[in-house]
Every structure is written in structure tokens, then in C-alpha cells.
């Protein structure tokens, strides 16, 4: 009699235990962090080449890169032949200033031989759903570039710009070639 009762109670505990285990298992959620390997909105890859020898990469000297309507600087005084810059995802254009021979900002009044060229990137935006963790990304299509009017008595240091990839869906290819 007692033995039977114990057996019945064991069964009950087992049932409760199973339910409890099932609940524990599913309280851990794995898919809430956007993994770095997931392609999200691509950066624009810009490569600099020598205007005289178009095959040869040529890093601009002390290049500063900032968006025309931003106070903060994206890249300051870099000497590399390839950069990756973000484009705006809320409007169809982004204007960047590429400043050659940028001075150290604290130098203030010192004689500056810096040269600012302004480039406007225009594009159409294609929003694509990725997943719940990464939300949406934007692919830029039909990318175009237009040098903006210069301030007086400066000379353009950028001689030519070529759009290599009109649609930017990844960051593996160079999208823009700049010759100087």
C-alpha cells in the first residue's frame, strides 16, 4: 500500500521535474545579438591612385575626412591609400570633405597649405531586413559622385573620380577610385 503510494508520488515528481526542465531549457535565448559576421550596411570603400600612373596606389598626405555637415572628423591626418567611409542611411546623398595636408587642429593661426575638396555622393537606398538582432541594412544602388564647387583661389587636388561599383552590397570590393 505504502509502496504503491510512493510509486505514484515518484511519477508525479518526475512529471513536475520534466516540466521544470523544459522551462529552464527555453529561457535561454541565443539569437538576440547581431553577430559580427552578418553583413550589415556596407561602408563605402575609397581607393587613392596616382593620376600620372593610374595603376599605382598613392596615399594622400595627411588626409582628413569629414562629412560636410558634421562637426566631428571621421579620419584625421591619415596616410593610407584606401579608406572606408559611411554613407547616410536616412537621405539619398552624403557630402564629404577630403582635406589634403590637414594641419594639426590645435595649431590655429599657423600658415595652412591644406586643400579641401568637397564630394557629393548620391544614391538610392534599398532597405533589406536581416533578422531580429540585426534589424535592417541599407544597400546603396546607382551610386554617383559629383565634385562640389570650390572656394575661391583653391586648386582641386583630386584630378579624377571613378565609380567602380555602382551598387554597394558588400565591403569586399572597392567602390570609388580617386586619382590625384
Amino acid at each position: 500500500m505504502l509502496r504503491k503510494k510512493i510509486k505514484e508520488f515518484d511519477l508525479k515528481i518526475m512529471g513536475v521535474g520534466l516540466i521544470f526542465l523544459a522551462l529552464i531549457n527555453f529561457s535561454c535565448q541565443r539569437d538576440d545579438i547581431c553577430p559580427e559576421s552578418t553583413p550589415i550596411t556596407p561602408l563605402l570603400r575609397v581607393s587613392f591612385f596616382d593620376f600620372e600612373n593610374p595603376e599605382i596606389p598613392k596615399p594622400p598626405t595627411n588626409l582628413r575626412v569629414k562629412a560636410a555637415d558634421m562637426d566631428s572628423i571621421f579620419l584625421n591626418r591619415v596616410n593610407i591609400s584606401e579608406i572606408s567611409i559611411p554613407l547616410k542611411t536616412d537621405v539619398d546623398f552624403t557630402e564629404y570633405e577630403f582635406i589634403l595636408n590637414a594641419q594639426i587642429i590645435t595649431e590655429g593661426d599657423s600658415v595652412s597649405n591644406s586643400n579641401t575638396d568637397k564630394i557629393r555622393f548620391t544614391y538610392a537606398r534599398n532597405e533589406i531586413y536581416i533578422n531580429r538582432a540585426c534589424s535592417y541594412k541599407v544597400n546603396y544602388i546607382d551610386l554617383r559622385v559629383a565634385p562640389q564647387p570650390l572656394e575661391e583661389d583653391t586648386v582641386r587636388w583630386i584630378k579624377n573620380i571613378v565609380v567602380e561599383e555602382e551598387n554597394t552590397e558588400n565591403e569586399t570590393n572597392t567602390h570609388i577610385l580617386i586619382y590625384h
Binding site: 508525479k12 513536475v16 523544459a22 550596411t41 567611409i85 531580429r132 541599407v138
Partner: protein, 235 residues
């Protein structure tokens, strides 16, 4: 985790009640006892409770089962839910109704005079709903520009989903014909229609979905009343 603790607590209380009733029933072995057959109707207690406690949830579910033969029951649930999903970069709301049809098997060998249920069951479930994209932030690898937050709502109506469920749980007769129960559900999606360029982050009746997975989970706390229709001897 909080839910798990609550459920453990509730289940413990339920089994305690049951244990007491085991103790109170003795020496009835010799009596030929008749078991009640009938329609059991009730509600899922967790849904109205969550409606009160959580701002972004609203739901009601009516449950029912009908004992057809010995330990076998036809079972159904019908409900309406509004579920909000808020992730770091995206939020959405699912709104709609669902029906679940299937059967339960009582795996518990009752003592004479007791009619408790520890059951496993299967359901086929179908839901019609809308999915509303409330807000999202476009993902970019650079923080240079301020985050681009796009606010909806963008609603897609007329969506459907179907799935099968494995249910396991218990129903304890607390008072005469009044049952308190708890169960867990493991769901596997069969079909779903999705909004274009978006996903179903939640489905009424199915709960939240998981990326790259067809499975879902759920739980219920039920309160039900057995309408006895006839009695039959337990053999």
C-alpha cells in the same frame, strides 16, 4: 527565469494539494468506483494575469476538453492575443486569433475516487494575425552619423500560420469538478505567411519565434470546470 520560478512554485502548490487529497483517500479499494465523463471548460489564467501586469500584452484563451474513452480526451483551445516584441534594434507587435485542436492522454493512474490528470497531448494549431513593425534602427558598422531610427507603425494584415504542439501538464481537482492545471507546450511551425521584407517576430498562440528555427514554446495555467455528463465504472 522569473516565469520558471513562478511556474515551479505553482506546480509545487498544485502537487501539494494533490498529495493532501491522496492522503485523505484511503481504503476505497474495495468499492467499485465510477468515474465522471463530461465536458471540461475553462480559461488560461496566465493570459489575463499577464494582461494586467504587462503593458504590451493583451490576451485571453478559452480551453476545453471532452473525455471520449478511458484516458483519452479531445482537447481544444481558442484565443486572441496581442504580443509585443522589443529587441535592441527592432520592435514589433503581433495581433490575432488562434485555434488549437487535438487530443490528450492521461498518463496518471488515479487512486480510486480521484480524477486528476497528468497528461501528454498533441495539437494542430492555426492562427490568423497581423504583424506590425513599430520601430527599427538601421544597422551600420560606423557610429559616425547619428543612428537612423525609423518609426512606424507599418502593419501587414491577413497573415496566417499553422503549427503542431506537444503538450505536457497536469490538472488537479481542487474542489468538486473544479480543476487547476499547468502545462508546457513545444511547438513546431508548419506554415507561415510573412510580411514582405520582414519576418513574424511573434505569432498569436505560438508566442515569439526564433530566427533560423521552426520551434517555439509556451505555457499555461488553467482553471476549468468539469460539466459531468455521465458516469462509467473504472475497470
Amino acid at each position: 527565469m522569473k516565469q520558471t520560478l513562478i511556474s515551479l512554485y505553482t506546480i509545487s502548490i498544485l502537487s501539494l494539494f494533490n498529495f493532501w487529497s491522496v492522503n485523505s483517500q484511503t481504503n476505497l479499494d474495495t468499492i467499485q468506483y465510477k468515474e465522471k465523463y463530461g465536458l471540461r471548460l475553462g480559461i488560461d489564467l496566465s493570459k489575463p494575469l499577464k494582461t494586467l501586469l504587462e503593458d504590451d500584452y493583451r490576451g485571453l484563451e478559452i480551453i476545453g476538453d471532452y473525455r471520449i474513452y478511458k484516458d483519452y480526451y479531445l482537447a481544444a483551445e481558442i484565443g486572441n492575443e496581442e504580443l509585443a516584441i522589443t529587441e535592441q534594434n527592432i520592435s514589433a507587435t503581433a495581433k490575432g486569433s488562434y485555434i488549437k485542436l487535438g487530443a490528450d492522454y492521461n498518463a496518471y493512474n488515479n487512486w480510486a475516487g480521484m480524477e486528476n490528470v497528468i497528461f501528454v497531448g498533441m495539437r494542430y494549431a492555426f492562427s490568423t494575425f497581423s504583424q506590425t513593425l513599430e520601430e527599427y534602427t538601421v544597422s551600420g558598422s560606423s557610429q559616425y552619423f547619428p543612428p537612423n531610427i525609423i518609426e512606424g507603425p507599418f502593419e501587414t494584415k491577413g497573415l496566417t500560420a499553422s503549427w503542431v504542439e506537444l503538450v505536457a501538464g497536469l490538472k488537479v481537482e481542487l474542489l468538486n469538478n473544479v480543476y487547476l492545471g499547468a502545462n508546457v507546450q513545444l511547438k513546431r511551425r508548419i506554415t507561415q505567411t510573412m510580411p514582405s521584407n520582414f519576418d513574424n517576430l511573434a505569432i498569436p498562440g505560438f508566442n515569439r519565434t526564433y530566427d533560423e528555427s521552426l520551434f517555439g514554446v509556451g505555457y499555461s495555467y488553467t482553471l476549468s470546470y468539469l460539466i459531468p455528463l455521465y458516469k462509467k465504472a473504472k475497470n
